[in-house]
Amino acid sequence: MSQQTEPPILSLQGVIKRFGGLTAVDQVSFDVPKGEVFALIGPNGAGKTTLFNCITGMHVPTAGKVVFESRDIAGTKPYQTAQLGIARTFQNIRLFEYMSAIDNVKVGEHVRMKAKLWDAIFRTPFARREEREVSERAMEYLRFVGIERHADNYARNLAYGQQRRLEIARALATEPHLLLLDEPAAGFTPQEKVELMALVDKIISRGITVFLIEHDMKVVMEVSQRIVVLDHGEKIAEGPPAEVRKDQRVIDAYLGKSA
């Protein structure tokens, strides 16, 4: 397969994260191949979101390496990981509630904008041109996720599903190479889940690698090429969906061990 020749876009090497006496992530290592949908699953409290936070710089790993595009980014600040090309959404939607949908997306574009303070104060021709381009692109992102009708609505006034989509649009606006989705289908109807899977396909076809946390096994099995399973902070299985599904440790973790 082609991804074996290409280096992985993200590689975790022995990542540990402790909070005081609690080890939330324990010696986790795996590679996320470029251009695929990669899924992270596990029961509640398995350390999935903590791992995401370690990748995006919100937590500094206690030990281990986080290698993104062949450089160790463990300990870089969140805004720097965004600059490097990692974008994320949040498990509990975190939009800028009292900003319009399109402004939310424009904040995502912030990191790729070049206007300096001087340009902003005097509204130089450069700043005007950039603002115009940013507005057009923001509209395209909204169209891409299918909520362009709500561009001028406050984020907090959007319906739940639209908010999830807006969060994805905002993340895409940072022009990431790797997109981390934290439970994107949480609270979705079956119909919305189908639409989400289609959206993930569209994102992949743009050349963006998608790394997602998901609880819904049906979504995970259908959309992802490769799965890692965490339980109590440890990796207990890795492989293609069909294999992972049959893994005894995974079944135990989800259903409880039979005595």
Partner: protein
């Protein structure tokens, strides 16, 4: 002409556009009308209006910090003090008695910019240690800064003359100036013009121009990349950081830019009053400016300006005039006995109202906030925040 008509139609329902237009027309017409209405003796009121302009600039600046970036600053007067003292030291004979033994006389126009940059620097300096703090904690630290700065100037006796303050500051000069009926004189061009205290119209024009420049600049910022970053930090700092916004720089810039306006205002204030004293920058000044912003409409530039104008006129015009007005009213309705103080404790209506001044001020503040909790002219945002019920329904329908 058609374009003008289209512009009017487009903005006739935009409260901000209306507010700007009314304020602009009011600002231009004010000196002429006042002089006419007072038979050429309106200098005092024009001077008062020029002073209120200082607070308008301060409110615009504080609105950047509190309204846009959501950083509660209770020590904003500190930057005002820094701007004033910078001008005081750089444009008077003050530094002769200082350890450098040399007077510095930098022209007003340059000192204005220096005051701006010094205040901005102080803003960044204060911002730096407080960046990890949020909300209430930040407010307390800024409160401390606001207390420290005026005391610092009071205690630096060698440089600032301590409690006496710095007096006899240089006035701005211009190569020429146009005067006319609006200042109750003949239309004429004056050469080598000096801004003197008995010509309040000149100061008034100057402050209006400064406000105009401030509004343009801050409006541009509001609609820029930086303005969006400020709002993103205000809404959700973690999410803003995840989107690549350098929250540290963004907040520092909010402090620095907010402070730069008070540097601006401070230089003007010092030059007009020709006196800078450590007593002019107390906690009450910070609170007054904050009240202006909140009462006018946090996060909305014309709102903050209207708040500043309204509170200033209440504090410095209506309340001081109230006792005399009450006495005159009592006289004119034939209740002169109210004006007599009586042995059983009645001090006379004038004194009675005088003692009630701050109760009335407090009641006015409470009244306005009860009637318009989102401020007089709120940003679209605050208006929604306080009427969320209506909009949540529409969200449910589309869900």
């Amino acid at each position: 002409m058609n374009r003008l008509r289209a512009l009017v139609r487009e903005n006739s329902r935009n409260p901000n556009a209306i507010a700007y237009t009314v304020m602009a027309i009011g600002a231009i017409a004010f000196p002429g009308i006042i002089q006419f209405a007072n038979g050429g003796n309106g200098d005092y009121l024009v001077s008062l209006a020029a002073d209120s302009g200082v607070y308008v600039i301060l409110a615009i600046g504080l609105n950047v910090v509190v309204g846009f970036a959501g950083l509660l600053d209770l020590g904003y007067a500190a930057f005002f003090a820094i701007g004033s003292y910078t001008y005081g030291m750089l444009a008077s004979a003050q530094l002769i008695s200082s350890p450098i033994h040399h007077a510095v006389h930098i022209p007003f126009w340059i000192a204005l910019l220096i005051g701006m940059f010094v205040a901005a620097g102080a803003g960044a300096l204060l911002g730096a240690p407080t960046l990890r703090l949020r909300g209430d904690y930040l407010a307390i630290v800024t409160l401390g800064f606001g207390e420290i700065v005026p005391r610092f100037f009071r205690n630096m006796k060698d440089w600032t003359s301590g409690v006496n303050g710095i007096s006899a500051l240089d006035v701005p000069t211009l190569p020429f100036w146009i005067t006319g009926p609006w200042a109750s004189t003949q239309l004429a061009i004056e050469h080598n013009f000096r801004f003197v205290s008995f010509n309040p119209t000149a100061w008034y024009v100057l402050v209006v121009i400064l406000i105009f420049i401030s509004v343009i600049g801050v409006n541009n910022l509001y609609r820029s990349r930086l303005g969006r970053a400020w709002m993103a930090v205000r809404e959700d700092e973690t999410a803003a950081a995840a989107m690549g916004v350098n929250t540290v720089n963004t907040k520092l810039l909010a402090f620095a830019i907010g402070a730069s306006f008070s540097g601006f205002a401070g230089a003007f204030y010092g030059a007009k009053l020709s006196l800078v004293s450590p007593d002019s920058f107390g906690f009450i000044v910070s609170i007054t400016i904050l009240s202006m912003v909140v009462l006018g409409g946090m996060g909305n530039i014309p709102g903050a300006m209207i708040g500043a104008l309204l509170l200033y006129s209440i504090l410095y015009y209506f309340l001081p005039a109230a006792p005399a007005q009450a006495a005159a009213l009592a006289h004119s309705v034939g209740m002169d006995w109210l004006n007599q103080s009586s042995p059983n404790g009645w001090p006379g209506i004038s004194e009675f109202i005088h003692r009630l001044q701050f109760i009335m001020f407090g009641l006015i503040l409470v009244g306005i906030m009860l009637l318009r909790p989102q401020g007089l002219l709120p940003s679209r945002l605050r208006a929604q925040e306080l009427k969320r019920g209506v909009h949540d329904e529409s969200a449910v329908v589309t869900a």
